[in-house]
């Protein structure tokens, strides 16, 4: 695991926000923060749906259980976000909240609260088409966890 020196801006972001947007010419990504790994993964899923829709407007009407694995933290993060994004792109379900039940470097188990997309109730702000491995980073340091993920939009 790398320990990174955070810039002032990043530190400020971490203290006040679950995530920050990263600007990228063709697409865009996020810096996500969490006090521990579970919070980091939950916040990453939250960030995806905060970007896609007005997340406060979602009702947690349904839930589903997700279990997946990865080769390392980065691979696990990409696989996790792929899975929650598929709920939207493949099944038109919007995620209100993710709860990480158990987590290791290679395994994740979670439940997510869902709302079925209804154009009368939901606004789609941005379309995220895919989660990429591009510049993927998951790091932990003395002050918590952070990840960088780039999306194709």
């Amino acid at each position: 695991m790398n320990t990174q020196v955070l810039s002032k801006k990043d530190l400020l972001g971490r203290m006040t926000k679950k995530y920050n947007l990263i600007d990228h010419t063709a697409d865009f990504g996020i810096h996500v923060y969490g006090s521990d790994s579970k919070e980091l993964f939950a916040n990453a899923a939250w960030a995806v749906f905060d970007i896609i829709t007005e997340i406060d407007q979602l009702a947690g009407l349904d839930s589903c259980h997700i279990e997946l694995s990865g080769d390392d933290w980065s691979d696990l993060m990409v696989n996790w976000l792929r899975e929650v994004l598929y709920l939207w792109n493949g099944k038109e379900l919007l995620v209100k909240k993710a709860r990480i039940l158990s987590l290791s470097e290679t395994e994740l188990s979670a439940t997510v609260e869902l709302d079925s997309f209804n154009p009368d109730r939901h606004v789609i702000k941005t379309e995220i088409k895919a989660v990429t491995y591009h510049q993927i980073q998951v790091n932990s340091g003395p002050s918590g966890w952070e990840a960088m993920i780039i999306f194709d939009i």
């Binding site: 063709a26 895919a130 591009h134």
Partner: protein, 477 residues
């Protein structure tokens, strides 16, 4: 990073470190010097490290930062010893453009332009979550994946000539629906005949200038003529196939012991079971994309008949050509005087086959393959023709579009407080759109100057200018 000048339009990235071949970049000095080009150059170098790469890792003048491979990248790998990479094709497999010509002049369409743009906007499903007019069952979807455009034509959604004027006749024969996931199939069921969002569009244009009269005549283009252009791809199905295979190949590549500078470059030997599975899955998405563009063009044709009150014979709307931008293909090229079978990856690049090439239909064989280069929605698009020099230098490839220079966030910032649709209206361009931030993100200044990009490929000789088109009506997702 050291760059050597070859001539005014070509630059060499010399072989260093793990690079197996040098990089060649098509650009002007000022394009190359732009700050933003540092990352794509690194990507050109990364691609040069992949096994089996031939001649050079190339980038077209519209290059920008992609994932793994740069967008605007061309790389060919030996068919026997080389690799195939989903990241070298991109998520939107066979994203591409097609251009149709009509018998109409601008002055005949202007009075009805608003009605026409509105009717196209209503009739062509656009935006996130839009559903197509075609209801597919899984067995029928599998036929689409195997037949490509021929499926649409067999259902009355097009004409035989449309197939002749589509790259590869709108069908890659190696498609195998048995190798794609349930998720990919599911996503493909609902989206056939939809435009999508982001940079996808339908555009009514006018031929503003002709640069090459014999080629323009062969392509059926004349000054003042109304054209219809479509830019879209394989929708969610293509994304899912790319995503599935990226996930799989990231693991697979470790077994091969290939040390990748970037995970997004994950690949497999073309000749391996895994490589062939991707090649056959990618072909499914390519065929879906051609069918999608064929259906959308057919619907547009019918809308034009209706709104303009014209018969098919009077409108004479013909497909000029359909080209793909994101694809990996088995092709034969001459390297060091010897014929060699290669797998050409074009990621944000267009095929540019020369006059006389056997893959071209009789109508275009004397002048070369039509190459369609869309610009941003407020400027211009170009029609070019393929050249012999492209065969010699770039595995028969050229640029694909303008290429972004502003991030979406920066574009939104630049358009704050502006009414983009009014600015376009002042230039004589009517635009209708779905997405809440689509217009802001797609403002003309978010893209490179298309004329400069086209000038580079024309001057470098890897395709030649035939005509310039000016947009007058745009429908966006």
């Amino acid at each position: 990073m050291e760059i050597k000048k070859i001539d005014n339009y070509r630059w060499e990235l010399p072989k260093t470190g793990d690079m197996r071949v040098p990089g060649i970049i098509y650009a002007t000095e000022s394009m190359l010097k732009a700050e933003k080009q540092k990352e794509p150059l690194k990507q050109v170098a990364n691609v040069a490290t992949l096994p089996g790469i031939l001649k050079a890792s190339m980038a077209m003048p519209d290059m920008h930062w992609g994932y793994g491979f740069p967008i605007g990248g061309v790389a060919a790998f030996d068919w026997e010893s080389g690799i195939i990479s989903p990241g070298g094709v991109g998520y939107d497999i066979n994203c591409g453009v097609r251009l149709a010509t009509t018998s109409l002049l601008e002055k005949e369409v202007r009075p009805k332009l608003e009605n026409l743009v509105n009717a196209l906007f209503r009739g062509i499903p656009t935006g996130v979550g839009s559903k197509g007019s075609i209801k597919l069952s899984v067995p029928e979807e599998k036929k689409v994946l195997q037949m490509g455009s021929r499926w649409a034509v067999s259902r009355g959604l097009g004409e035989a000539l449309d197939l002749e004027h589509t790259e590869d006749g709108g069908c890659m024969p190696n498609a195998d629906p048995g190798v794609i996931s349930q998720r990919a199939l599911e996503r493909g069921l609902r989206q056939l005949g939809t435009l999508g969002s982001g940079n996808h569009f339908l555009e009514i244009g006018v031929v503003e200038a002709i640069y090459d009269t014999p080629a323009a005549q062969a392509f059926g283009l004349f000054e003042g003529q109304i054209t219809v252009m479509l830019h879209t791809g394989s929708r969610g199905l293509g994304y899912q196939i790319c995503d599935d295979f990226l996930a799989f190949m990231t693991k697979h590549v470790k077994k091969l012991g290939i040390d990748l500078p970037d995970r997004q470059l994950a690949c497999a030997s073309i000749q391996s079971k895994e490589g062939m599975r991707y090649y056959n899955a990618m072909a499914c998405a390519a065929n879906y994309a051609w069918t999608n563009r064929q259906i959308l063009m057919h619907h547009s044709r019918e809308i034009l008949y209706r709104v303009l009150g014209m018969s098919p014979r009077d409108l004479n709307m013909k497909l000029l050509y359909d080209v793909c931008h994101n694809i990996a293909k088995k092709e034969v090229h001459v390297i060091d005087g010897k014929k060699q079978t290669v797998c050409v990856h074009r990621k944000g690049a267009t095929r540019s086959f020369p006059p006389g090439h056997e893959d071209l239909c009789d109508q275009y064989r004397p002048v070369g393959q039509p190459v369609i280069i869309p610009g941003d929605m407020g400027t211009a698009s170009y029609v070019l023709a393929g050249t012999e020099k492209a065969m010699q230098e770039t595995f028969g490839s050229t640029c694909h579009g303008a290429g972004r220079v502003l991030s979406r966030k920066a574009a939104k910032k630049a358009s704050k407080g502006r009414a983009i649709h009014r600015e376009l209206e002042d230039k004589g361009i009517l635009v209708k759109w779905t997405g809440r931030s689509t217009l802001a993100e797609e403002i003309p200044e978010a893209y490179k100057d298309i004329s400069q990009v086209v000038e580079v490929v024309h001057e470098a000789g890897i395709s030649k200018k035939v005509a310039k088109l000016r947009p007058i009506g745009v429908v966006k997702g």
